[in-house]
């Protein structure tokens, strides 16, 4: 019997006339595609199309093609469906995959268009006029008390009602990715970039490595159900604390970091033994209700001297009511992760079939909190496939305060979206703990790439604001009047609170 019915997805083509026979491709591939016998010989079945070899081939003689192998046409039984069945028939296992949901569900951002000023109100040139992107993450009071400053003006009175907020110089933060799922060099790149950009990175649930302590004022420390690496010192170091309830790629399920990824450094950061599975239970077992969530929020505040505490949830069907409960429980921000959010490993069936789009989640949560008069009590962070500054601007217009980027940040560091993080063999050295691979990312270079990306998006958002004729990101927030939809039905327009084009 054949070992597998599954034929290679890609063909690795080498132009041997041009090939230097240098063996660099052999050395670069994390998946062991190449062997070398006088010249590199690829095993197509191992190729993930990550382009590491292509990028580093000095002769530019490698290309990766799709395997053109024809399957009998069947719109119902797709090739992927057939392959999944063969794989499961071979192994009896739950299919594991990574990165965000790639299926062709509608992408609502691509059906939304922004407004611009023409004639009747002037647009603004952001290159020569002030254009404010500064955003404050945290609870805003219903009222503040002020006192005379003695110079004819007023200032905030002591204990005047303002609670701790975190100043962000751009409305873009880095989304949580744990040390363990990504390498320490990725964490360092994110932390250095966050500090330079005046924004935030997020530890994910894997603890805070000591190398990140110099950047701790720009780090959100996460508390997930496994409580890995969570102790008073960890809470004391973070700029804010985030309770992770769920993740867009795997709503409602826990996580396992496999024992083979728990090396000495990961073990010491998570404070668990080497080689043992790091199991995150599906729920926090001290949270079975909104009241319990309030209890954990205030436990973390008590333990940290009342730092901002956010709550991250996956966007699910009833997200608006859940968000209302979270805000009433005392969260300083609510982090919504849409169904296209990325992951270092998730069962494919969960990733591809659970959750709702982030665009809808932002709109319904923002509306619900406004209707209840509590929108100012918490900031909204939106994530789950923010692909560009346009997505960010549309998310903010729908009602988000801040967007978070994970997949895009990884792409800035070299990720080619091959969806193989769960193998731990990332050729780009990002989602692996193998030292020969992780050293491929220089954190200084990585930080520069991330700063470039966020700076570029910030400029683009400023251009969008200028075109809209407003001079601050605050003026776009929740301003759905500046959005129109194209190709969405009336019911979806009503859900989003957006008019169709032409109205």
């Amino acid at each position: 019997m054949p070992g597998t019915y599954i034929q290679p997805e890609f063909r690795v083509k080498i132009d041997y006339d041009k090939c230097h026979k240098c063996g660099r491709c052999v050395q670069q591939c994390g998946w062991g595609v190449y062997s070398f016998n006088e010249r590199p010989i690829p095993d197509d079945s191992k190729c993930r199309a990550c382009h590491r070899c292509v990028t580093f081939c000095p002769a530019h003689c490698i290309t990766i093609e799709k395997n053109a192998l024809a399957y009998k046409d069947n719109d119902n039984w797709t090739v992927d469906a057939r392959k999944a069945i063969w794989r499961q028939a071979e192994t009896g296992g739950v299919l594991l995959t990574s990165m965000g949901n790639p299926r062709p569900y509608p992408r609502i951002f691509d059906h939304l268009l922004l407004d611009a000023c023409q004639v009747t109100n002037p647009s603004i040139d952001p290159l020569r006029e002030p254009m404010e992107l500064r955003t404050y993450l945290g609870r805003k009071p219903d009222a503040v008390s002020v006192e005379a400053d003695g110079a004819g003006g007023y200032r905030l009175a002591p204990n005047g009602g303002m609670t701790a907020n975190i100043q962000l110089d751009a409305p873009i933060i880095f989304s949580p990715m744990s040390y363990g799922s990504v390498s320490l060099n990725v964490h360092k790149s994110l932390a250095m970039a966050a500090q330079r950009l005046g924004t935030l990175m997020n530890t994910g649930e894997g603890g805070l490595h000591a190398d990140l302590y110099p950047y701790q004022d720009r780090v959100i420390v996460q508390v997930a159900s496994g409580r890995f690496g969570v102790d008073p010192e960890y809470l004391g170091r973070g700029a804010a604390i985030e309770i992770k309830i769920g993740q867009g790629a795997k709503p409602g399920i826990g996580g396992h970091l496999p024992g083979e990824k728990i090396d000495k450094e990961v073990s010491s950061t998570r404070m668990i033994p080497q080689g043992t599975d790091a199991i995150s239970p599906a729920p926090h077992h001290d949270i079975y209700s909104i009241e319990d969530l309030r209890q954990l929020i205030y436990a973390l505040k008590e333990a940290s001297g009342y730092k901002p505490v956010g709550v991250k949830i996956a966007a699910v069907h009833n997200v608006a009511a859940i968000a209302s409960g979270i805000v009433r429980a005392g969260a300083d921000y609510i982090y919504l992760d849409g169904f296209r959010g990325g992951t270092g490993a998730a069962p494919q069936v969960i990733r591809d079939h659970i959750g709702i789009p982030i665009e809808v989640a932002i709109a319904v949560v923002d509306q619900r909190l406004r209707d209840e008069g509590i929108r100012n009590h918490a900031s909204i962070v939106a994530a789950g496939s923010i692909r560009s500054s346009a997505d960010a601007a549309k998310a903010i217009a729908l009602g988000a305060d801040v967007v978070a980027i994970g997949s895009a940040a990884l792409m800035a560091l070299g990720c080619h979206l091959c969806q193989s993080c769960h193998t731990g063999c990332c050729s780009w050295g990002l989602t692996t703990q193998k030292p020969e691979l992780t050293r491929r990312l220089d954190p200084e270079w990585g930080a520069e790439r991330l700063v470039n990306l966020v700076s570029a998006w910030s400029h683009e958002i400023q251009e969008i604001l200028g075109a809209l004729g407003v001079n601050a990101i605050e003026s776009l927030r929740g301003s759905r009047e500046r959005l129109r939809s194209v190709g969405l039905d009336a019911q979806m327009n009503a859900v989003l609170g957006v008019k169709p084009v032409g109205m």
Binding site: G93, P232, T276, I279, A303
Partner: protein
Amino acid sequence: MSYTAAVVEGYSDVAPQVRRDGGVTTVDARGVYYRRVNETVRQAISDGATHLVLTGVNGQRYIGTGVSAHGVRIDVHGTAGNDLGMLMDGPMIEVFGNAQDGVGNTMNAGTIVVHGDAGDVLGYGMRGGHVYIRGDVGYRVGIHMKAYENLVPVLVCGGKARDFFGEYMAGGIAVLLGMNTQFPEEPVAGSFLGAGMHGGVIYVRGTVEPWRCGKEVGIFEATEEDMATLVPLLRDYCSAMGMDFDEVTSQPFTRLAPFSHRPYGKLYVPL
């Protein structure tokens, strides 16, 4: 200036009365909002107090939560509220009464002694320290206890436990005696004992029915080696509780331990 204390969640939002008598700082927590009680406790500790006595405690949460200090003792008279000693790193808390849910939640180091019963999710994610409960405990006790390097958490419950005792346990030692119980007719532990366990050890005084245990758990008679671990813990527990060590050890113990540190290693296949 007249001042009326605000009432928050049924408690007065005022600073509690504090009395210093020699080395003892007594805080009258009766009817006082938890935040004010805990502020006072933290302030007293940072001012150098090493022995605090909280009187009139009736459900105030977070006593000792997030307190990092060594050589500090906190006596609690009354019923301690939820998350007693959560994220605690060092102090010794002794409760003369019952405790509610979440005792020792994500605790790092220190000792909690409860001369009464305790509620659910006791010792959740506990990484170090000792928690001794005289009586019965609730559901999902010892869940996801871990161990790390020289930190080995120890949980001893003198009474009986409900379902999911030691669930997901990844490290540490959990002991269930089944002695000081309000429920003599109940089994020593509910169902799903040690479900998902992948590290650490559970000791039960007497025996357990195999069907009550998670499928990840092996059931063994405690050996001499096990008793070498248990005896000092039980002596310490008996001295804290004023119990007779010989009576506690008059029955053999059962050891529950996971088959694997990687119970789900074969569950998933990469696509």
